[in-house]
């Protein structure tokens, strides 16, 4: 029984470590809805994995990445406002995924655990996958840190100064896709954005530099995972929502700090 809790904690911490720096960029670049859209599309990824009998992790990464690139292209056309476009793609891809799963009666899918996470069922293989992907995501973020920061402040200025903005943007999308693929198991499709945005917003009030904010956000995310799992363990609440609730609670506490 204790290894259930151990694996759950390890998995949660592995995911929360990435949410710090990644979530900070999502907040700075005002991409919360963008992240949400990609997260919703992961349901489509899961449906595809079931249909093709392949690894859902891989399928989710690929689908998220494709959708991210489609979004970037469509945003550049500027025929629709960005949030309208995101609203269309977000819910359409979620709906396709749900309908596709319903059309496959031979597979039994626990929809609730997809939508809200199922942290207490992770096994050692899940933990290994999560850490392998986390390490790749963090290494990529470290490598891209400076150009990404320059682009966040002013994309055209960064481009004139020699930042390969298209390559960096694509790599950033890949990191989001990687994180969604591993966070799905922990907090579920519908709550991934919360795990990205809330710790970063909480960390803002304690940070003087971008790096501080990223590290604090990771620590706050880890704290929320531990508190949420405790709640889940002792008062038998669902793990994913409990983690998000704890993150929200930490954010409320941070509001008490005077600026």
């Amino acid at each position: 029984m204790i290894d259930v809790l151990l694996y759950a904690t390890l998995a949660g911490l592995g995911v929360a470590a990435v949410t710090g720096p990644l979530g900070s960029f999502i907040v700075w670049r005002r991409m919360a809805y963008f992240g949400d859209t990609l997260a919703h599309s992961s349901i489509l990824g899961v449906a595809l994995a079931l249909f093709l009998s392949i690894s859902p992790t891989l399928s989710v990464i690929v689908i998220c990445l494709i959708l991210a690139l489609v979004l970037v292209v469509l945003q550049q056309q500027k025929t629709l406002a960005s949030d309208t476009l995101l609203g269309i793609l977000s819910h359409t891809s979620l709906a396709i995924g749900l309908v596709a799963m319903a059309l496959m009666p031979e597979v039994k899918v626990d929809l609730l655990s997809l939508l809200f996470g199922d942290l207490l069922t992770v096994n050692i293989n899940d933990v290994i996958t999560i850490y392998a992907i986390s390490v790749v995501a963090i290494l990529l973020l470290l490598k891209l840190w400076k150009p990404l920061l320059a682009m966040t402040i002013h994309e055209e200025l960064a481009k004139v100064e020699g930042v390969p903005v298209n390559a960096v943007r694509t790599a950033f999308m890949l990191i989001i896709a990687l994180e969604i693929a591993i966070a799905m198991k922990v907090v579920g499709v519908l709550l991934i954005t919360a795990l990205l945005v809330i710790p970063a917003a909480t960390a803002r009030r304690f940070s003087q530099t971008p790096e501080q904010m990223a590290v604090f956000a990771s620590l706050i995310g880890c704290l929320a995972v531990i508190l949420g799992l405790c709640a889940s363990w002792f008062i038998d609440t669902p793990a994913g929502p409990s983690i998000v609730l704890c993150a929200g609670f930490l954010f409320l506490i941070s509001l008490m700090k005077k600026n």
């Binding site: 907040v27 700075w28 670049r29 005002r30 400076k146 920061l149 320059a150 966040t152 402040i153 002013h154 055209e156 200025l157 481009k159 004139v160 100064e161 970063a200 917003a201 803002r204 940070s207 003087q208 530099t209 971008p210 501080q212 904010m213």
Partner: protein, 254 residues
């Protein structure tokens, strides 16, 4: 560095069927200040972005000097308030050495703001911060998109004077955008009046009397002449008297 820094020939650009630029030629020599003026929607920013390589022209050629180092000052920064970034950190994105960052901040007169959050800077301070970031790249070509926007009239004079000083020290070419010829008159060697095509170009005094310019801007806004105690030659160099930066009583600003 005697070849032109930038040479545009016959540039045309459409966006969604609207012609923004057609048949624009432009060239800029080292050490010269060239100002693009024109009404809103005249294509000034598009032309600047073509020079910078941010926008591809539909037609025409852009020839850049092989040793061109561009210092770019964009029109505006929109930094999310959640991003904790000080002026120093902003400058360090262009130059990792903090001493050089401080020196650049000093040169534009904002060294006392170096540890403040970028979002707390006023309009004029922000323009200076952008200028500091541009000169940190040791440019031989400065591109300034509306460098004095959001700055009061007194501050505009000072900023144009600073740009002139930077040009002298770096001996760089300067391409800037303005929609007000009045203040830029004394700060530029050459003016191009743009309204999708080049209406007229030349020395600011010539342009301000050009019928095409007057038609575009109306005689109401015809520029006042600056009563300096010296004269300029065609290149804008002072040919007699000493510039003291003092103004006559006719000047409407102080």
């Amino acid at each position: 560095m005697n070849a032109p820094l930038v040479k545009l020939s016959n540039i045309s650009k459409c966006f969604n069927g609207n012609t923004v630029l057609s048949g624009v030629d432009l060239h800029l020599e080292p050490g010269k200040i060239l100002t693009l003026i024109g009404p809103n929607g005249a294509g000034k920013t598009t032309l600047v972005k073509i020079v910078l390589g941010l926008v591809e022209p539909d037609e025409g050629h852009v020839t850049l000097h092989p040793e061109l180092r561009i210092g770019y000052m964009p029109q505006k920064l929109h930094i999310d308030p959640t991003l904790p970034v000080t002026l120093q950190r902003f400058l360090k994105l262009a130059e990792p050495d903090p001493r050089l960052c401080l020196a650049a901040a000093k040169e534009v007169g904002i060294e006392h703001l170096i540890d403040l959050p970028l979002q707390s800077l006023s309009g004029g301070e922000m323009q200076r911060a952008l200028l500091a970031r541009a000169i940190l790249r040791k440019p031989n070509f400065l591109v300034l998109d509306e460098p004095v926007q959001g700055v009061d009239v007194v501050g505009q004079e000072a900023l144009y004077r600073l740009i002139g000083q930077l040009r002298d020290r770096l001996h760089c070419g300067v391409l800037m955008v303005s929609h007000d010829l009045h203040l830029v008159m004394s700060a530029t060697d050459e003016v191009i009046c743009l309204n999708q095509h080049i209406c007229c170009h030349g020395h600011p005094d010539q342009v301000s009397n050009n019928p095409a310019f007057l038609e575009l801007f109306g005689s109401k806004t015809a520029p006042y002449t600056h009563n300096h105690d010296h004269h300029h030659d065609l290149h804008g160099e002072v040919i007699d008297g000493v510039s003291t930066n003092s103004h006559s009583k006719e000047c409407r600003h102080d």
